[in-house]
Amino acid sequence: MTGAVPEPVLVARGLRKRYGAVEVLAGVDLAVASGEVACLIGPSGGGKSTLLRCLNVLERPSGGSISVFGEALCRDDGTGVRVAPERTLRRARSRMPMVFQHFNLFSHRTVLQNVMEGPVTVLGLDREAAIDRARRLLRDVGMADREDHYPDQISGGQKQRVAIARAMAMAPSVILFDEPTSALDPQLVKGILAIINDLARQEITMLIVTHEMKFARDVADRVHFCDGGRIVESGCPDDIFQRPRTARLADFVRSIHE
């Protein structure tokens, strides 16, 4: 033990988001340490997706603060939320890309072009280097032989592999996953989870919204339970799944196992 606390790369304090009269996030406190794999679990409609979209400021929070890599993306000085300039947001997003439930591949681009898009337009890599990088990542996710296919020619599981490669092509420090396997047929889920598991062994920090409890238990360093717009409970997987401290978490865990 060195006693050094790993520095958090992602911190949210008192994060709020309302849509009209509905308060979807009601003061979220969350910290994700560098290299950590954090899973976010909780009932549907609890605000998990909204939280992820607020963290990279795809949605403008209504209150609270966010800092990523030690840089404030959004802060609340009491008079209102101040969001960092567009350039700062873009740089943070490029280091913290997102993988979506419904893949969201660019439908007019081939598999290879999808993976190259970020490196070319955002990172300014030249074409040759971007192609090399994209091919290497496609090989890693088992999609090397599909590089010239269009998204409408491949299965859901394959789309998600490409989407993961597209995120990895940014050489990110953090990846945000929003239910990456929820739209997939059961037999395709394993393959995607295995890929994420491989990434978990690398240095990349990950925040994963998931309903796959066994996966969360195996892969996560920390699990956060989100319900009613708050992080109700956080802890290591054993504590969360074996020794829930709140009735809400206990109910949720029970409902999953039924």
Partner: protein, 235 residues
């Protein structure tokens, strides 16, 4: 008895072709202006600001709810009274492209709205700028989706150009009328004019079809659904 067809090319045929050339140039210039303006109006109408949207909505309504010929006559004959005099050709370009832009802006706006917002979100989440997202994700898909419709508008425009003869642009129909005034041979002249319009429209339609084919990935081309597509191994 009327002479039905010609044993030789009539001497005024080159004069008609000259008119056809003006029609073609007028169409191309108006199309280019109409596309640019239509796109700008479509983007403006997607703006979050009411002050931007409202005047553009009004423009589109006004232009779609009045006849093109009235718009042309207004630009050519009425605007000079307000101190804006345009040469006939440019009055024609202004009238045709303002009219076209009103329609195209609707076509573009609908096509942009139809693009899955998830793709824009994915682009944003990679750190792409709004300009880059339009350039790389939104507009390419919009153009591909609207190409057949835009092509249809171009062919309609070629023919609408005949209205510009009313404001004394020397295009095909006006040249035809000059010929008829001279020869009294309206039947053969109009047959030739119809033939020239047909060749221009048909040729354009073929070119647009080729362009559309080129811009469509092989597997999405017409008839490709029947062919066995590349099979994805189970992921």
């Amino acid at each position: 008895m009327h002479r039905f067809f010609f044993r030789e090319v009539p001497e005024y045929f080159p004069f008609l072709l000259q008119g056809a050339w003006i029609t073609l140039v007028l169409s191309l210039v108006s199309m280019a202006c109409g596309l640019a303006l239509g796109l700008a109006v479509a983007l403006g109408r997607l703006s979050p600001y009411r002050a931007v949207r409202w005047p553009l909505d009004a423009y589109v309504e006004l232009w779609r709810d009045t006849p093109l010929i009235v718009q042309l006559l207004f630009i050519y004959f009425t605007l000079p009274e307000f101190g804006l005099t345009l040469p006939a050709f440019w009055a024609g370009v202004a009238g045709l492209s303002l009219n076209l832009a009103a329609y195209l802006s609707e076509v573009f706006r609908a096509a942009i709205a139809a693009i899955d917002p998830g793709q824009r979100q994915a682009a944003l989440s990679l750190g792409m700028s709004r300009v880059a997202i339009y350039r790389r994700v939104v507009l390419p898909q919009m153009f591909r989706a609207t190409l057949p419709t835009v092509g249809g508008y171009f062919i309609a425009l070629l023919k609408d150009c005949s209205l510009v003869s009313f404001i004394s642009v020397n295009e095909l129909l006006r040249h035809a009328n000059i010929v008829i005034a001279d020869t009294f041979d309206s039947m053969n002249t109009y047959i030739m004019v119809g033939f020239i319009y047909f060749v221009m429209s048909f040729g354009s339609a073929r070119l647009i079809g080729l362009l559309e084919r080129r811009l469509t990935p092989r597997h999405q081309r017409h008839g490709a659904a029947m062919l066995p597509g590349p099979k994805g191994a189970a992921a």
